[in-house]
Amino acid sequence: DAGITQSPRHKVTETGTPVTLRCHQTENHRYMYWYRQDPGHGLRLIHYSYGVKDTDKGEVSDGYSVSRSKTEDFLLTLESATSSQTSVYFCAISDWGGAPDTQYFGPGTRLTVL
């Protein structure tokens, strides 16, 4: 299994509070991604990174920001959480070597915004 961890694994927070989710990898992969999973929608891309300090928006980026200061860490921040951001969040990694076009996923973080 690819070495990907996410923290926290579960979080309950209140509307309007800031929340940061962390993804950590030990594979030295260049690409990292944040998805959210909601019933009836599958997985939708929030933001992704193609290198340190290089990030871009995905399909559902509104209300989210990301940062990547080191190869191994990719942070997802909800500046002011809303109930619509209650979801399961997955981090994924990918690279251009080996099997370059396969994404490997972390275990997920369940976020509940009350």
Binding site: Y31, Y33, G40, H41, G42, L43, R44, L45, Y48, Y50, D56, G58, E59, V88, F90, A92, S94, A99, D101, T102, Q103, Y104, F105, P107, G108
Partner: protein, 115 residues
């Protein structure tokens, strides 16, 4: 954006039987990759099989195989000799070369293997 459609929200199969999950996609690209991921109740996303569009031969991984029809933009997953451990949500995914190695997922098919 690319679209991936899984038209079967739920399916069931008897243990040891064969089942086929459907997936269609829409793209104008000629070089791309297709994937099936499995998500059991543990929620972990597990790669089942991948197919490169420029390869005509259908991919196979043990009991899992695909029927890739490029002209029809169809990518179905066949599970042979179904086992109880195959009970999971299955997602079809597309990755093209335009737009930073992004994946596009279908909405999933929930498969239940009946003992």
């Amino acid at each position: 954006a690319q679209t991936v459609t899984q038209s079967q929200p739920e399916m069931s199969v008897q243990e040891a039987e064969t089942v086929t999950l459907s997936c269609t996609y829409d793209t104008s690209e000629s070089n791309y990759y297709l994937f099936w991921y499995k998500q059991p109740p543990s929620r972990q996303m597990i790669l089942v099989i991948r197919q490169e569009a420029y390869k005509q031969q259908n991919a196979t991984e043990n009991r899992f195989s695909v029927n890739f029809q490029k002209a029809a933009k169809s990518f179905s997953l066949k599970i042979s000799d179904s086992q109880l451990g195959d009970t999971a949500m299955y997602f079809c995914a597309f990755m093209g070369r335009v737009g930073g190695n992004q994946f596009y997922f279908g909405t999933g098919t929930s498969l239940t293997v009946i003992p």
